[in-house]
């Protein structure tokens, strides 16, 4: 009796180990649930839900265009050359499970270095993400904060690469400077790929919603081509898809054209520099730049503390139903929104970089996805118009650069290091 029990238990355990151990599932991209929810709410009908076929038709098209996490692909478009933006060979270094292929080339760089936080899908929701403050970037809306292009434009390849190389001080994003250049390149391409893929998913969901008479069986692209009529319809739909994807890719392709040039900062004597800082200070507190509104009276970043960034804000809005929407979207997978805090300028930590040009860009272009606006520039040749000139901006940069070294910022900082005697 007991002997039989032993045998059964042993067999059971062995079977369990076999079932459990046999092959992990292949990695899959996660569906853009929050955006789906937003689309559904957009109909104005609280009860409305997109059906399984609706959604899987979008998934299928996205997969057909971009492949899987293990086997990335690039869409073939007529209008734009995708290869100018994304290099498939490099993508393949970054994609797939961690390891190396038969030739010894590395693979799976993204899953080795990035996926813990940014997630396989690039949705900023890897296993570690919940524990980080701020949350890791969700690439799918295609918005990036620290770049040389104005708000509304995509970042350039070099902008993203700089972030990978330098990291983002003040956040959990570390520097990947020590990786070989080829690997960093591969990762930048992969980030762009995930971003373009996510933007495509968004635009295709919008396309699905924009179609006439949406029923439970509506598919993004018709599959049944039994009649010539349906066949034409399918071709139209495919063309529309390509059109939308082209728009997405073009935005990335044209990013370098939008890079904002920065006029040289005048070299100044100490007195001139003091004067410039004083002007910058006035602008900081003035009505046009009005930095003080958010960054606070003493530039400690304590002005406006109740805003949300766009990654949460595009779902939860600013309306009276914000709390309700937070519940709805958190249930759909949105990270529990946290208020975005203006930077404390006295710490000497500048996330987008501490070069003067970096600070200039932040002020001039604003920071995408955050309440930090682009500077209102004075139109050229119109001296009476309200706005800032490049000189004004440099004055503000000079002032901001001096803030961490003011004595109230950190009384210990500027004191010469007095070694503590140990003996």
């Amino acid at each position: 009796m007991l002997g039989r029990l032993f045998r059964t238990v042993t067999f059971g355990l062995a079977a369990l180990a076999l079932v459990g151990g046999c092959g992990s599932p292949t990695a899959k991209y996660r569906r853009y649930e929050t955006y789906v929810r937003k689309m559904e709410l957009g109909t104005g009908n609280d009860k409305f839900r997109l059906s399984g076929p609706n959604l899987s038709s979008v998934d299928e098209v996205v997969t057909a265009l971009y492949g899987t996490p293990d086997e990335p692909a690039l869409p073939a478009l007529d209008e734009v050359e995708v290869a100018q933006v994304l290099d498939l060979a490099k993508l393949k270094l970054a994609a797939g499970p961690v390891g190396s292929d038969e030739q010894g080339n590395v693979r799976g760089l993204y899953r080795e270095h990035c996926a813990h936080c940014h997630g396989i899908t690039g949705d900023g929701w890897g296993p570690t993400a919940a524990f980080l403050n701020p949350y890791p970037r969700d690439y799918r809306p295609g918005k990036f904060k620290f770049k040389s292009t104005p708000v509304g434009y995509r970042p350039t390849h070099d902008d993203l690469k700089k972030i990978l190389l330098e990291g983002i001080p003040g956040t959990a994003m570390p520097s990947f400077k020590l990786l070989p250049d080829l690997e960093v390149e591969a990762l930048v391409h992969y980030v762009k790929y995930l971003s373009i893929r996510g933007e495509t998913e968004r635009t295709l969901l919008e396309m699905l919603m924009a179609g006439e008479e949406l029923t439970k069986d509506t598919r993004l692209v018709t599959v049944d081509v039994s009649t010539p009529e349906l066949k034409t319809r399918q071709q139209d739909e495919l063309a529309a898809v390509k059109d939308r994807v082209s728009t997405v890719v073009k935005r990335w392709q044209s990013a370098p054209e939008a890079v904002v040039a920065i006029p040289a900062r005048d070299s100044m004597t100490a007195e001139q520099l003091d004067e410039s800082r004083r002007r910058g200070r006035d602008l900081f507190y003035g009505a046009i730049a009005n930095c003080v509104k958010c960054h606070g009276d003493s530039a400690l970043g304590d002005g406006t503390l109740t805003d949300y960034d766009d990654w949460a804000g595009e779902f939860i809005g600013k309306g009276p139903d914000q709390q309700q929407l937070i519940k709805v979207f958190v249930a759909a997978g949105l990270p529990e929104p946290r208020n975005i805090k203006p930077r404390n300028l006295r710490q000497g930590v500048f996330r987008g970089g501490l070069r003067p040009v970096d600070i200039y860009w932040r002020i001039k272009n604003g920071i995408e996805g955050t309440p930090m606006p682009a500077a209102t520039m004075k139109p050229e040749g119109d001296a009476s118009a309200k706005g800032l000139t490049p000189t004004d901006l440099w004055d503000i940069v000079n002032y901001v650069e001096s803030l961490p070294f003011e004595s109230i910022s950190d009384p210990f900082q500027a004191v010469p290091a007095i070694p503590r005697e140990r003996l």
Binding site: Q84, H116, T128, F131, S148, T156, H157, D158, E166, G167, P169, A172, P174, S175, K177, L178, P256, E257, V259, V260, A261, I262, P263, A264, R265, L354, R355, P356, V357, Y360, W361, W394, E401, S402, F405, F412, Q413, A414, V415, P416, A417, P419, R420, E421, R422, L423
Partner: protein, 278 residues
């Protein structure tokens, strides 16, 4: 079976020593499985102590291992017809094998105090106002850079032209530490968040970085090259990511590089590259 088990225990000293000798010789498959290259001026002292203790313990290890084996082999009940030696110990032996190890251990302890003091207590000094070294008014050598550990990177801050860390002309970098060789280098290390440990395997330097404490490490590198900076104290989920790079250069190369880094950090003009806007 007693023979078999005795031989099994004989394998312990044989394979143990074999494993170490093999690794020291660096033969396949254990190439490079020994102390990493030492490029510091003091590292040979630490390595020497390591080897000294290794030989000493190795001798004890082999001796006790062989004696153990021999007793098991000889006094196996299946082979040994002699009656059991009915005895409860030996006062003389106890005294002998207490005093000899005690003396050895005290010797080891005292022998290495100087190396410890060099590494952790005697910070390099500069001549004081009287212009002479080794006088009462010597001042401690100021740090060339301050290294701040944070989850999960090393933030590096060179003192810049004024020689003081924490001023506007500091050069700030991340994970990329460069230092001149053939001179005593002092680094100030601190932490912004949790414990880290600043570990330079090739320079035999390790110091935990404690938030709230400002500590100094010093060494003299003797060879140019690129080496790892390792975080050796658990600092969170990304502990393994906290890797830095130490580049040792000649003073002139170092100065040139520091100048370039300073210039790059003060970039105050940007023209879009024509190549980028196609």
């Amino acid at each position: 079976m007693g023979r078999f088990w005795s031989l099994l225990f004989l394998l312990v000293p044989i394979l143990g020593v074999g494993c170490f000798v093999w690794a020291m010789a660096g033969l396949w498959p254990m190439r490079g499985h020994w102390l990493p290259e030492d490029v510091s001026s003091h590292g040979h002292v630490i390595d020497g102590l390591f080897m000294f203790i290794l030989y000493l313990t190795g001798i004890i290890f082999v001796a006790t291992g062989l004696v153990f084996f021999w007793f098991l082999w000889k006094y196996d009940a299946a082979q040994n017809a002699e009656p059991v030696r009915f005895m409860h110990g030996s006062h003389t032996l106890e005294v002998v094998w207490s005093i000899i190890p005690a003396g050895t251990l005290v010797f080891i302890a005292i022998y290495q105090m100087d190396a410890w003091a060099d590494a952790k207590l005697r910070r390099p000094m500069l001549p004081g106002p009287d212009g002479k070294l080794n006088t009462a008014d010597d001042i401690p050598k100021p740090p060339i850079a301050e290294i701040t550990g944070r989850q999960f990177e090393w933030r590096i801050r060179y003192a810049g032209e004024d020689g003081i860390v924490g001023t506007r002309d500091d050069v700030q970098l991340v994970n990329d530490l460069r230092l001149p060789i053939n001179e005593e280098v002092v680094l100030s290390i601190k932490s912004q968040d949790v414990l880290h440990s600043f570990f330079l395997p090739n320079l035999r330097v390790k110091q935990d970085v404690v938030p709230g404490m400002k500590q100094f490490v010093w060494f003299k590198a003797q060879k140019t090259g690129v080496y790892d900076i390792v975080c050796a104290e658990l600092c969170g989920w990304g502990h393994y990511k906290m890797r830095g790079r130490l580049t040792l250069q000649n003073r002139s190369d170092f100065d040139r590089w520091l100048g370039q880094a300073h210039a790059a950090q003060n970039q105050a003009e940007f023209t879009p590259a024509s190549g980028e806007a196609e």
